[in-house]
Subunit: 503 residues, 2 copies
């Protein structure tokens, strides 16, 4: 008797495992799908082969009530039918995140979602001990989104073997790799033997476990499906192999509510992939991901065309090294979509120029992005005797920015509505508001005015607070009205919040 | 017997005062000029009326030897003739500064000139005590250029009366001016009574004394001839009055070797002046300034067209508030002239957004400009109980940047040749060299790499130094060759200098 889930919360993941054919190549030659019918929706989704004769179908219900399911396909002569009950979502289960109000995000249940992302490219492919440490660190952090890769990463500081590979086969010998010679191996190094038609289910099962663990911590899994940092040849498969990979990934992962699709990290460093290829993969997602998860594609230098209809939000790596988050308002206007600066340089001290800004500068960029109505991403790259760097391996955080990002997150969650709207900018100040609400946030960045004068009108009373965004302090300055002056300590990274006083 | 100078150093200022007509309006109705003939040059220059029946001619000799002079004009029926001897220049007298090697500057005698400018708009129109303080401060600083105005300044923190005015007449009542209402008075406030055809010689004599004092401190006087910050109407004279003003200013000041002409501070905030007006004034300078002093014009927002032939160098106010000095290399290429960022925000804590960056940020901008082959300008605006702010009034310096600018100046003077050439830029580094010399300067700005690896070739030996540009320390790392690694402390504002080792 094949077991299946009888009751689950809305937006959780229903799953069934059915035995099926094991001859030929089950990954390619047999299909399984499930049709799910409730009062408010009917969805048909692809399942996948999970090795050892097991075929799996997953489904994320979007409504409460009773659902009927029917599992069928060439994988077996039998079919499976039944019902399950979907209960109300509880606790931290707010459903998947979608775009709200053009430039912002919200959970399916309406709760606003303010993205404070981090990057740990292959945290899940490190030792079990390190993974545990990473999850513990994330639990105590403000990060509610993490970018990471499905495929292993080959790069400086990433010469070690991942714990598993996505395909059946054997990797090239990595013992000769060093910090000096690793660049030569980009692509398909000699010695790799992979069967690109047979996946390694262990690798994907492990990633799913990580996705679930992140979900339980209320952290979005921004999955980087393709990337160029490769010595195994996974970035050089042909179109047919790529499509098979995409279908398998979507069938396995799309039923988890916290999944986002990042088609690539630095798509433009993959010259073998054309725009036509990316559009093809985007098409697969749009057809096969029945839950319409957020979709984007990240750049090294030139942006992908973010006006493409399948792109839900901009996932941007800064292009200029001096002016980064300060372009957010221009990009919002240009693309009319949420702007997420997923990469704006990392806090750290490594020798690579993209990973050695200070915590203060990173936090400043976050505030500049936020008050322009956008979002930013964190990463950390401090030299480490064991070569464990957060940006790639996770572990513990050594930097100063995470606490300040937690403080910023707190302020953001106090925004009335779905997000900040940039209002204006002066020489030394950026100001955000909320549409039709008397709520103003001013940020002074690296400038140090000693005071600021305000005037809104003669009668409205405002609660005024002076916020030290680095020392994480909020000072209540009482109720002000008419023309009023706010004294500031003449130090960097100050902000002022002004809200209509509610009697 | 009219006295005159018998002997003077080359590039000093020869002067004669001759009595003449006092009827009608001597400023306008009578002329005086001098013709100076030496073995290598013959120049005819305009003189000026100095009040009390005195007409003056000044001349700066550009060669050693005997000169003959002939003074004549409608100011008198008499003429004056004679000779004087010009001796070699001594000590700090290197002559006027001119453009050298397209992008840089040098004194007439060939000594390179690295501009480290500051701004004190109306220092010379403050109390005598404050002026003395300013000169003392300048003497102990690295500043070798100071921008200041001929006309008084009306602005926030500048509501006091200047010690003198350029014309005969009476000013409007300034006792009602406050920090809140001063903006209303921009232009010609009621109560002003000026005779725009009669200059006040005291005002100009005092400015000349200041120019001489600066010259003796080896400081260039970057004279701002027109500007918009005015409550007296000096910025609103008609074309004829402007031309008379220009002729008078050039006749009085051009014979001092340390004079530069800044046609305007923020020319674009003077809507009554058209491009045709500015071109007309530039033409007057080109015709009447026989010494071809450096000429430019400073902006608030849009640049003046720096390709105009009369413009010798770009005098730029940064346009973007985040990316300032980092545009220097683009501007050098665009304009093919020295780029002097005369205004890139001031160190301070006043409430105005152009005057409250930290000393660290200002010094960073200086280094970014310098390693891109350009020059920057300093200013300081710290709140002060007596409202004495360096940027306008001079006095003493309260900030942290001046010492670091002195340190930068020291490094610049060690450049072999006439200035730095930008070589390349990476994520976190800007590198400058000197053409055809194995001399390299790397600067890391706000980035903090822990080390850097270098390779030039297998055999050349290099002296390597690690420079802490904020803590002002130079650490000798010895001789390196081939592939070598330079450890860095992982802090901001570090630089590395690499020079071919001379055995």
């Amino acid at each position: 008797m094949t077991e299946f889930i009888q009751k689950l919360e809305k937006w959780d993941t229903w799953e069934i495992t059915c035995p099926g054919h094991t001859d030929k190549n089950p990954f390619m030659d047999y299909k399984i799908q499930g049709t799910f019918t409730g009062d408010h929706e009917c969805k048909t989704v692809d399942g996948f082969y999970d090795g050892e004769g097991n075929y799996v179908v997953r489904f994320m219900p979007s409504f409460e009530g009773i659902y009927q399911f029917l599992i069928s396909g060439s994988f077996s002569e039998k079919t499976w039918e039944g019902t399950f009950e979907v209960l109300p979502a509880l606790g931290n289960n707010h459903g998947p995140v979608h775009v709200a109000n053009t430039y912002h995000f919200a959970y399916e249940d309406g709760v606003p979602y303010y993205s404070i992302g981090t990057t740990c490219y292959v945290w899940e492919l490190q030792s079990e001990e390190l993974q545990k440490q990473t999850l513990e660190t994330l639990k105590n952090s403000a990060f509610n989104k993490i970018r990471f890769c499905i495929l292993p990463k080959h790069y400086d500081y990433n010469l070690n073997e991942p714990i598993s590979y996505p395909y059946i086969g054997t990797p090239c010998d990595s013992t000769k790799l060093t910090s000096e010679n690793f660049m030569q191996y980009n692509g398909r190094a000699e010695g790799n033997q992979w069967d690109y038609t047979r996946f390694n289910p262990d690798h994907f099962r492990h990633i799913e476990q990580c996705i679930r663990q992140l979900r339980d911590l209320s952290i979005e899994a921004d999955l980087i499906v393709m990337h160029p940092y490769d010595r195994w040849g996974f970035s050089l498969m042909d179109r047919e192999q790529d499509e098979q990979y995409w279908n398998y990934v979507i069938a396995r992962f799309s039923a988890y509510r916290n999944v986002w699709w990042s088609l690539a990290n630095e798509y433009d460093l993959m010259p073998q992939k054309s725009v036509e290829d990316w559009e093809c993969y985007a098409g697969i997602i749009c057809r096969k991901d029945k839950y319409n998860h957020l979709r984007s594609i990240h750049n090294c230098r030139p942006f992908y065309d973010y006006t493409r209809p399948w792109i839900t939000h901009c996932s941007i790596q800064r292009q200029d090294v001096y002016k980064t988050a300060e372009y957010v308002d221009e990009w919002r206007e240009r693309y009319q979509k949420p702007v997420v600066l997923d990469e704006i340089a990392y806090e750290g001290n490594i020798q690579h120029g993209w990973g050695n800004i200070s915590g203060k500068e990173l936090v400043r960029r976050f505030w500049e992005a936020s008050l322009r109505g956008g979002y930013a991403g964190h990463g950390e790259t401090y030299m480490n005797p064991n070569d464990i760097l957060w940006w790639s391996h996770g572990g513990v955080l050594h930097g100063e920015s995470p606490d300040r990002l937690k403080f910023l997150y707190q302020i953001l969650t106090e925004t009335p509505g779905y997000g900040l709207t940039p209002l204006k900018q002066a020489w030394d100040e950026v100001c955000a508001t909320v549409e039709r609400v008397s709520y103003y946030l001013y940020y002074y960045g690296f400038n140090r005015p000693s005071f600021r004068e305000f005037y809104f009108d003669d009668t409205t009373e405002f609660d005024v607070e002076v916020i030290d965004t680095w020392d994480m302090d909020i000072e209540n300055r009482g109720i002000c009205k008419g023309k009023f002056k706010v004294e500031l300590p003449g130090k960097e990274y100050m902000a002022i919040r002004i809200r209509k006083h509610q009697a």
